[in-house]
Structures are given as C-alpha cells and as structure tokens.
C-alpha cells in the first residue's frame, strides 16, 4: 500500500506500524513525535497503530529556530 511519510510517497506492507516508519526515518526516537493524518500518536501507541492506504505520517523533532 502507498502512504506518505514526511511528504514523501512510500510503498509499505499492509500492517506497517507507526513505530516501524518512525524508525525508518529517525536516527533515534528521543526528542521525536509523530502525527498520523494531523493527529498526534502517543509514543506508547506507536507499536499498536498501523497505517492504512493513503495515510499521512509526519515525524518531527526539534531543530534550531526562534
């Protein structure tokens, strides 16, 4: 199935979890948060939350700014 991770289209297997996708883009999970279709997914729910076709996942961290 096709999903969007940080703005980029990706082909992933059915049942792929938020945890797996975060691990694929973030070198470390400390200081990282994820939103699935504009809703925050708590870290404790990353393993249990799976994506569906066309879902949008955003994985953010702190950078220099402000």
């Amino acid at each position: 199935m096709k999903v969007i991770v940080n703005g980029q289209a990706r082909e992933v297997p059915e049942g792929t979890s938020v945890a797996e996708l975060v691990a694929s883009v973030a070198p470390a999970v400390s200081g990282v948060a994820a939103a699935l279709n504009d809703e925050v997914v708590r870290r404790s729910d990353w393993d249990a939350t799976t994506l569906r076709e066309a879902d949008r996942l955003e994985v953010l961290t702190a950078v220099q700014g402000g």
């Binding site: 940080n6 703005g7 883009v25 973030a26 070198p27 400390s30 200081g31 990282v32 948060a33 994820a34 939103a35 504009d38 925050v40 708590r42 870290r43 955003e58 994985v59 953010l60 961290t61 702190a62 950078v63 220099q64 700014g65 402000g66």
Partner: protein
C-alpha cells in the same frame, strides 16, 4: 492593573511583588513565568547560528536559562541535535510553532512538541505571511485559547498592540510577547509607546520578542518595563555571536536595574547639578 513603576523606588516595587528588597543582590530579582523562576531575564532563540559550536558558546555567554527551538520533519542525515546543546548548557527548552499560518497548524505543532520534548510550554507563533512574518491576530487568539484549554503554558509572540495583548491575557496566556519590530529585522523597538501601554496594563510578564539589533535595544526594552527579552538573530548572526550574547546579557541587566532605579523625568531645560550658592563671582 500594573502601577506606574517609572517613579517607584525599588523598595516600592518590591512591595508590589516584582522586585527585590532595596539593596538585595540583583540575582534575587528573578523572572517568574507560570510559577517557574528564572535567574536570567534573557530568553534566547537558537535560529541562525552557523554551527552547534557557535550556538553553545553564545548560549553560555548569554547566561540564558530558557531557549527556543523549532519543530521540523526529522532529517535522517542530521548530525548532532540542538537538544544536546541545550542539555549541555543546562538550558530549559521552549518549543515554538514557527512557520505556522493557521491556528490548526500551530495547535498540532504544539502538541507534537509536547510529545517530543515532554514540556507543556510553547512559544506560540502564528504568522500572516512570509514577507513580514507578522503575527495573524485572529489565528493567534484562536490558537492560544485552544492550547490554554488543553493545559499548555502559552507564551504568544504578538504584535505591539495593547488590545491584542489584553485579549491574549484574557484567554489565559502565561505571558505576552510583543514584537519590537519584524523578526530578524534588527530595527529595534519601533513603537516604545505601545510597549509601555502593554506593560502598564499587563498582569502577566511582558517579554519583548523580535526585532532587536543590538544591546541598547535590549536595555530600552527593560527600561520600558518589560520583564524579559527574547532574541536570536541579533546574537546568532552577529559577527561575533558569543561577544554579542555577553553584551545582551549585560544590557538586560542594566536596563532592568535602571527601570527599578527610577529614571529622572525628562526636562526641557537644564537643571544645574552644582549649587549656585557660594560662587566667588556672586554678590
């Protein structure tokens, strides 16, 4: 309603709960936001520093205890995190919502920051356009209200508009942070009168945020009665960031002391400081 402090003695100001006892050490004059105490009245941003090394030196020289970061998509190639620098410097992190144009975007960004950084504090920025980076007041108040309702400690970056500042305080913001001039412009405080009006009416800390260019701008902000200053570009893009950070640290302290000391009124004509009596040329 905040009393006029321009002619108040430090002891009088202390009675109002905002200043140290007369003669107390300056370090006792701490900034309190939402019940949290900070020894430094200089809040720093991290944007614009050419390297993490320069940033670390600047933060150390500034003496800051609270520093902003932005939230962005993770970069798998990124080396070193700004969070590591803040941790090493012992500085508390204040996530912002820079780059958000709507209340919805800002609220989501604040929630992501809370999840990522384990803080319910947020510097709320909702900008109207990229050219001016001025706050969109309608979206700003909307976002502030939603975030306060959700338990956030909201520190909004706002226009130098006393009415808007009052509205932000009314919806429960823990401070108001009016701009001196547009972000990164270095134009200083373009409307000192409005900043004074905001200070006079505020019952929460007023933080002068954005537009400062050099040390005298920071001192002026404090002399006008602001409780703190937030700046980034003036330091991070200075020719010598650590040196400018030290200058800002001293300017904030000097401006604060001058405010508490109570400046003399401005006069149209001279007033001799030496006595006229006893002049040898007198009759």
């Amino acid at each position: 309603m905040r009393e006029q402090t321009a002619h108040t003695t430090p002891a009088g100001a202390a009675a109002a709960g905002r200043a140290p006892e007369s003669g107390a050490a300056p370090e006792a004059d701490s900034l309190v936001i939402a019940g949290e105490e900070f020894g430094s009245r200089l809040i720093m941003g991290t944007g614009g520093a050419p390297s993490m090394h320069v940033l670390r030196e600047a933060l150390t020289a500034s003496g800051t205890e609270l520093t902003t970061v932005a939230m962005r998509r993770v970069d798998p190639q990124a080396r070193g995190s700004v969070l590591d620098v803040l941790r090493e410097c012992g500085v508390r992190v204040l996530p912002n919502t820079a780059g958000c144009f709507t209340a919805g975007e800002a609220v989501l960004t604040a929630k992501l920051a809370r999840e990522a950084l384990h803080t319910n504090w947020v510097k709320l920025e909702v900008i109207a356009d990229e050219r001016t980076l001025l706050p969109d007041p309608i979206e700003l108040v909307d976002a502030a209200e939603q975030l306060v309702d959700d338990g956030f400690v909201v520190l909004p970056y706002t226009n130098d508009d006393p009415v808007l500042a009052r509205r932000l305080e009314q919806v429960g913001c823990a401070a108001v942070m009016p701009l001196g001039s547009p972000i990164g412009s270095g134009l200083g405080i373009r409307n000192p009168h409005n900043i004074e009006l905001i200070v006079e009416q505020a019952n929460v800390p007023v933080v002068l945020d954005a537009g400062l260019g050099t040390a005298s701008d920071a001192a002026l902000a404090m002399e006008l009665g602001c409780d703190a200053v937030l700046l980034a570009t003036a330091v991070t893009r200075a020719q010598h960031p650590a040196a400018m950070a030290a200058a800002m640290r001293h300017a904030v302290q000097a401006g604060r002391l001058a405010r508490l000391a109570g400046r003399i009124p401005k006069r149209r004509y001279a007033q001799a400081s030496s006595p006229w009596e006893g002049l040898s040329t007198g009759t």
